[in-house]
């Protein structure tokens, strides 16, 4: 008679033990932010780039390296066709006014005419714009999509990554992480 209760007792015991382990296992959510820390420091590779010449027009430079210049650095992935990129553009312009930091842009999946037109229309916050049509830089940096912004300290180590358009708050956090002051409070 009593044997008919064995299955349910066994089942409840196993499930209880499983549940207990599951609840007390803290390691399960550790890899939630792993995407953000895919790279630790600036990857080294060569890229075609757009640079503002002394006359104010844009020129194409082949085989450029984007590397740390001894200043805290911000690297922004964008494209002329990307609406959220336009939304964060004023904040990048603001950062460009700060001489303590260097702002690089990498145009992802775009062409140089469209980038030039876009920059001419909305302003150029970038020291240099890398053109990444084959997604080489995108893979090296491990971007999830655009816009995505990397904040690197003086030594070129990635301290803060933001996926999506910057807000004032995320920008402040990023700059704080690389120990650069914002233009408002120098």
């Amino acid at each position: 008679m009593r044997t008919s209760f064995i299955p349910i007792i066994a089942f409840v015991t196993i499930i209880g033990a499983l549940g207990y382990i599951f609840i007390s296992e803290p390691s399960n959510n550790a890899n939630r932010d792993s995407i953000k820390s895919k790279i630790k420091s600036m990857p080294n590779f060569r890229i075609q780039a757009l640079v503002e010449t002394s006359s104010g027009s844009m020129g194409i430079m082949s085989d450029t390296t984007i590397r740390a210049t001894g200043k805290p650095t911000v690297v922004n992935f964008f494209a002329s066709w990307c609406q959220p990129c336009l939304a964060e553009h004023p904040l990048l312009m603001e950062m460009a006014l700060n001489n303590q930091i260097q702002v690089f842009g990498i145009a992802w999946n775009d062409n140089s005419e469209a980038i030039q037109a876009w920059i001419a229309k909305h302003g150029n916050p970038f020291f240099l714009v890398g053109i990444d049509n084959e997604s080489i830089a995108g893979i090296e940096w491990g971007i999830a999509g655009i816009p995505e912004t990397f904040f690197l300290d003086k030594k070129g180590n990635v301290q803060f990554v933001h996926i999506g358009p910057l807000s004032r708050e995320t920008m402040q956090n990023g700059l704080q992480a690389i120990k650069a002051t914002t233009p408002e409070n120098p």
């Binding site: 299955p7 499930i15 499983l18 399960n28 999509g145 655009i146």
Partner: protein, 645 residues
């Protein structure tokens, strides 16, 4: 917009599931015309069950549409797809992740709800209470998992800002077999829910009858066929795609699909005994309940990421807890109902059945299969508990399973081989001895033959002898072509697995272009010459490959692929197959950066060559087993009529 429509369809499906689950039992309780109308399968149940299925199908179609169009505004698509992915895999990406696979799970649940509403024939009245209640319980399970999907793993969540491109799919998962492996496996897992619902309904009605047994046998067999096909496809994928050199690894996720299959196999035999002799009743009920519970537990184990294995995709604690709760609610209430019914029934004193009879043999088979399942479960969960209590990790590998399961399996196979000499309820010892005296010498002889001639190891030769014993037994089984076929498949599988995994030859070496590698086993030898090393560009990967000359006709070209969006590498095995053996070649690179396109002038490579005897028959045996299951699904008299024509 289509994403929102899909989401809405799923919400509507949940409402219908709740309506079906609550209205149908109400209709059963009442006696007036309205209630009768409510329970008539044609008037309410069928349209509602169909609507539920169609809504789930629509929701899935909307999600697949988003994947095909690479609509990265859907969070799930962004996380799991990539615009450069081939079309087939965009399609398959729908179920290559947690949320999508839950939607697939729910879709199959609702499919079976509809099948129950349409196909379960009742012999007497138009509305059998068993069918009505079965549908209601199936809908309740549907509602539970629909609610889970909607509230805890919504596949229709939006992403903002919209990303330019997706984060890709694990390229290991890019294989045609994988595109259909999960749907098949889910049809199997979830198909068991129909048997489960039928059994719960019968327990509630306190009506464990032949009607119940026949319906349950049908659903269990259907699910069994799908499960077997899904498991086989998974093994095939591991062998052909992952380049692991084997087909079964006792990986926790593989075990999660094997456990319900073992229980379903046991349940089928118990149900057959019940139909024929009205014996082994409690076991039949319990095994059907446990089989579906095992498939739900399997889902929990896989989906929660609690077991770290090659398969774990998901890791979200809250979600894991909620799945565990769902499993507990369904299973615990089922087992409680079973215990209560079993406890209150008047146990009529039935005479013990003879061991030497069909039901006796089946009872042994049921017991041993249940033990096998328990041992597999123990080994699957043990590392988890061990790690929790000692903070050290262990892995339980093939040696455990081989040592522990082999004796059980050999006894099962022995019982299988003796089947043609056994009758229901009775047996003649003379017949058994006559059967054994013919078959045993042949089996022993073939065992000795492969030991001496084909250089088999002793253990493999023993396995072959048992396999031949079972094969002849299966061939002599009369009256049930499906059973004979399935048993023959199992026997072939035993012989082939023993040959392929106990008698394989393997060599691992670094080779230069022009070198040859030789595999020796007994009298036969195989030579492979490395012709050249090449690089190639695929649609979304770079490939480093090597070409080997096997003989004048055949070349082998194993490769390593590096997928572009993620940089993940996969091994592409190259296989030369005849019905007697597989030559299986994989390559590896010793240094990390060597599969880049920059190393065009490399001339050395690490090569692993394996020769696996009778590997073809592993797949053939599995196919024959599955075919036997399909054959048994066709009603007996229909089959007879066809054969007579």
């Amino acid at each position: 917009m289509s994403i929102e429509i899909g989401h809405y369809a799923l919400v509507l499906a949940l409402c219908i599931a709740i309506a079906l689950a609550t209205l149908l039992p109400l209709g059963l309780l009442g006696k007036n015309a309205f209630c009768r109308h409510l329970t008539a399968t044609s008037s309410l149940a069928r349209p509602l069950a169909s609507a539920m299925f169609i809504l789930c199908l629509f929701a899935s179609a909307m999600l697949i549409r988003a994947f095909l169009l690479s609509d990265f505004s859907a969070l799930l698509v962004w996380q799991n797809s990539h615009s450069s992915k081939p079309m087939l895999y965009k399609f398959a990406a729908m179920w290559g992740n947690h949320e999508g696979s839950m939607l697939l799970w729910v879709l199959v649940l609702s499919l079976f709800a509809m099948l129950i509403a349409f196909f379960t024939k009742s012999q007497h009245a138009k509305q059998s209470p068993l069918t009505t209640l079965t549908l209601s319980i199936q809908s309740a399970i549907c509602a539970l998992f629909l609610a889970f999907t909607l509230f805890f793993s919504n596949p229709f969540a939006r992403a903002y800002p919209v990303a330019a491109d997706g984060m890709g799919l694990n390229p290991i998962l890019q294989h045609p077999a994988l595109a259909i492996h999960p749907p098949l496996l889910y049809l199997g897992y979830v198909g068991l829910s129909a048997a489960f619902s039928t059994t719960i309904a019968a327990l509630i009605l306190n009506n464990i009858s032949n009607e119940w047994a026949r319906a349950t046998r049908f659903w269990t067999l259907l699910a069994w066929v799908f499960l077997a096909a899904g498991i086989t496809l998974g093994a095939w994928w591991a062998y052909e795609e992952l380049g692991w050199g084997g087909f079964w690894f006792w990986d926790p996720v593989e075990n999660a699909s094997l456990m319900p299959w073992l229980l379903a196999t046991a349940a089928l035999h118990a149900l057959m005994s019940f139909i024929k002799t009205a014996r082994i009743r409690a076991w039949a009920i319990l095994l059907v309940l446990l089989a579906f519970s095992a498939s739900m537990l399997g889902t929990f184990l896989v989906r929660s990421g609690i077991l770290v294995s090659v398969h774990s995709f998901a890791s979200d604690p809250l979600r894991g807890i909620v799945i565990l709760l769902c499993v507990t609610i369904v299973t615990a209430s089922a087992l409680a109902l079973f215990a209560w019914r079993k406890n209150t029934e008047n146990s009529t004193n039935l005479k013990p059945f003879p061991l030497l009879s069909r039901e006796g043999a089946q009872f042994i088979n049921i017991l041993l299969l249940s033990c096998c399942c328990a041992l597999v479960m123990l080994a699957t969960l043990y590392p988890l508990f061990f790690e929790f209590f000692t903070k050290r990790s262990i892995a339980i590998g093939p040696p455990y399973y081989t040592a522990v399961l082999t004796p059980f399996f050999l006894v099962i196979v022995t019982a299988l081989g003796i089947l043609p000499a056994l009758g229901w309820r009775r047996s003649s010892r003379k017949q058994i001895i006559r059967h054994a005296s013919i078959v045993a010498p042949i089996a022993t002889g073939s065992g000795i033959a492969v030991f001496l001639v084909a250089n088999y190891s002793a253990s493999a030769a023993i396995a072959v002898a048992f396999g031949i014993w079972a094969l002849i037994g299966a061939a002599r089984t009369k009256g049930a072509p499906g059973v004979a076929c399935a048993h023959a498949g199992i026997a072939i599988l035993l012989i082939a697995c023993a040959s392929a995994s106990l008698n394989d030859v393997e060599k691992f070496r670094t080779m230069r272009v022009g070198n040859t590698i030789t595999l020796n086993k007994g009298t036969s030898s195989t030579k492979l010459e490395l012709k050249n090393i090449f690089t190639k560009q695929g649609s979304n990967y770079n490939e480093l490959g090597a070409r080997f000359q096997l003989n004048s006709k055949n070349t082998l070209t194993p490769a390593i692929r590096t997928y572009i969006p993620s940089g993940i590498k996969t091994t592409e095995a190259s296989i030369n197959r005849t019905i007697l053996r597989d030559i299986y070649v994989t390559i590896a690179t010793l240094d990390e950066r060597s599969s880049d396109s920059s190393t065009k002038n490399r001339d050395t490579i690490s090569v692993r060559v394996r020769k696996k005897p009778l590997m073809f028959w592993v797949w053939a045996g599995a196919a024959i087993t599955i075919f036997g299951g399909i054959l048994s699904l066709i009603p007996r008299n229909l089959l007879k009529r066809r054969l007579q024509q």
